[in-house]
Symmetry: C2
Subunit: 292 residues, 2 copies
Amino acid sequence: MFEQLGLIGCGLMGGSFALALKRAGLVGRVVGYSKSTDTTARALALGVIDVVAASAADAAAGSDLVLVAVPVAATERTLQDIRDRLTSRTLVMDVGSTKGDVIQAATRGLRERVGCFVPAHPIAGKEVSGVDHADADLYVGKHVVLTPMPTTLAPQLRQAEQVWQALGARVVQMAPDAHDAAFAAVSHLPHLLAFAMMHSLALQPQGGDYLALAGPGFRDFTRIAAAEPTMWRDILLANRHDVLDQLRFFQQAVHSFVQRMEDDDGRGLADLITQASNTRAGWSMASFTPKT
Amino acid sequence: MFEQLGLIGCGLMGGSFALALKRAGLVGRVVGYSKSTDTTARALALGVIDVVAASAADAAAGSDLVLVAVPVAATERTLQDIRDRLTSRTLVMDVGSTKGDVIQAATRGLRERVGCFVPAHPIAGKEVSGVDHADADLYVGKHVVLTPMPTTLAPQLRQAEQVWQALGARVVQMAPDAHDAAFAAVSHLPHLLAFAMMHSLALQPQGGDYLALAGPGFRDFTRIAAAEPTMWRDILLANRHDVLDQLRFFQQAVHSFVQRMEDDDGRGLADLITQASNTRAGWSMASFTPKT
C-alpha cells in the first residue's frame, strides 16, 4: 500500500505503528528519525525501522506516508521542518491525545500542504513507554479517532481510514472540538482528579499512614496518576478550556453529594449513588459505533 | 477455640468468616440468623451455618463468639436485641467500614455488656455480595483493623486478634478516629469522587457519547462507582465529617492544578504531576506494618 513510511518519533506509539504496518505487508521500508540517536539505533536494532534518517525532513523525503509521533509540544516545529519534502499526495498523520492544538500547529506548520494532514488519535497505550515496548498488536481492536479539517484532502482521509482499519483498529470520525470535549470528560479530567487525589494525601502529615492502609479500590482509582508527567502537562495545557469546562460539571456533581450529606438526606444520597452505580454497571468499554 | 459462633447477617462478609472459621477447625458449630429467611436457608444449604436461628437473640444465645455482619444502620438495634444473651466472656465483633458510628451504636445498644465488643474492619470484599459468594479465603493476607474502645475488655481484644490471625489476616490496631480519618481519605472520598464522575457525565446531553469513547483509564478510575448504594449511603453519612474534611484537602489540590492551567504555568504543572506520579509509582498496596 505504501512505498515508504517516514516515522518521526520512534517511541511506543510510532514504533508500534511501524511494526504493525510491516507485519501487514503494507509498507516497503521504514525510514525513522528520533531526537535521540540512541532511540533510532535501538529502533533499527529491533527492526522497527530499516533506515535511520538524520533529520525529520530526511525521514519525510520520499515517503508517501509520514507519521509524526512526537510530544505534542514539538508538533508544529516538526511539521514546519518536513513541509518542503511533502507532495500533494503524501499522507501525514499524528497520534496526539488532543486535536484542537494539533490542528493549529498543522495549519501554521504545513501551510499549503495542510491538506495532506489527517489528525489522528489512536486510543491505545501501555503503562510503559519507549521503542522497546513497541508492539505490532497495540492497535488491534482499538478505536482510532480521525478529526479531519475542512482543508483535509479526500484521498488522504480515505487512505488514513484504510490504513488504520488494515491494522485492525476501529476508525471513528469526529469533529475536532467534539473529540477534545469528549476526551476532556473521560480521560483528561479523570487524570487531573487522580493526580489531585495523590496530592491531597501529600498535603496531610498523616498522608503516608493513610496510603499504607489503602486497598484495591484506591489502587484502581489512582492507577492513572502514575502517568508520564511531560505528556500530561501538555495535554492538560493544550485542552485546558475543555478540561476546566468538565471540571465545572464535576464540581456540580460533587456539590449534589455534599449537600445531601450535610442535610443528612439518606434517601437523596442513595438515589444519587444508585444512579451513578447503575450508569457505571451498565457501561462497557468501547461501545462506540462509528457513524458510517 | 470457640464452641459456637452466632452469625448475625449471613452475607458475603459473615458467610466468609464462618467458612474460614470452620475450615480452620476453630468453631464447634455455627448458628445463623439473617433478616431474609431465603438467605439463612441458602447459608444452611451451603454449609456456611449449621443451625438456623429464629432471631438475632437466638443466634447469640449460648454463643461464645458473635459476629454482627449486618448493614451499619441495623447495628444498634441488633446489639440491643442480643444484649441479654451475652455473658461477660462473649466476644462480639462487627465488620463495618466506619467505626465512630459503630462505637456509638455499641455503647447505646450493649450498655453494661459493651466491654465484650471489639470493633473490627476487615479490609476485604468482592465485587459481588451475598452468601453464594462467601469464600473461606476472603480474609487471607488481608488487613483487619481493630479499634478497641476504652471499655473493651482485654481478654476479648486478645481473642479478637488471635481469631483473625488464625484466619490468615494481618491485624492492625488503631484509634477509632484515626481509622475513620484514614478510610475517609483512601476509600470513602475516592468512592464519592467516582460516583460524582459518573454523575458529571449524566449532567451533560452528550454524556452518553463521551462514555462510549472511554477507555481503560476511565474503566479503572470509575470501577468503585459500581459499588452497592445502600452500603455506601450509610458509609458516607456515618463518616461524613471526615469525608468532608478530606474533600477540603482534595479541593485544595484540585485548585493548585487549576491555577497552573489558568496561568499557563507548564513548569509548575509538570512539577505537580511529577510529584503525584512519583507518589503513586512508589506506593504499593498493604505496606502497613502493624505497631506491636
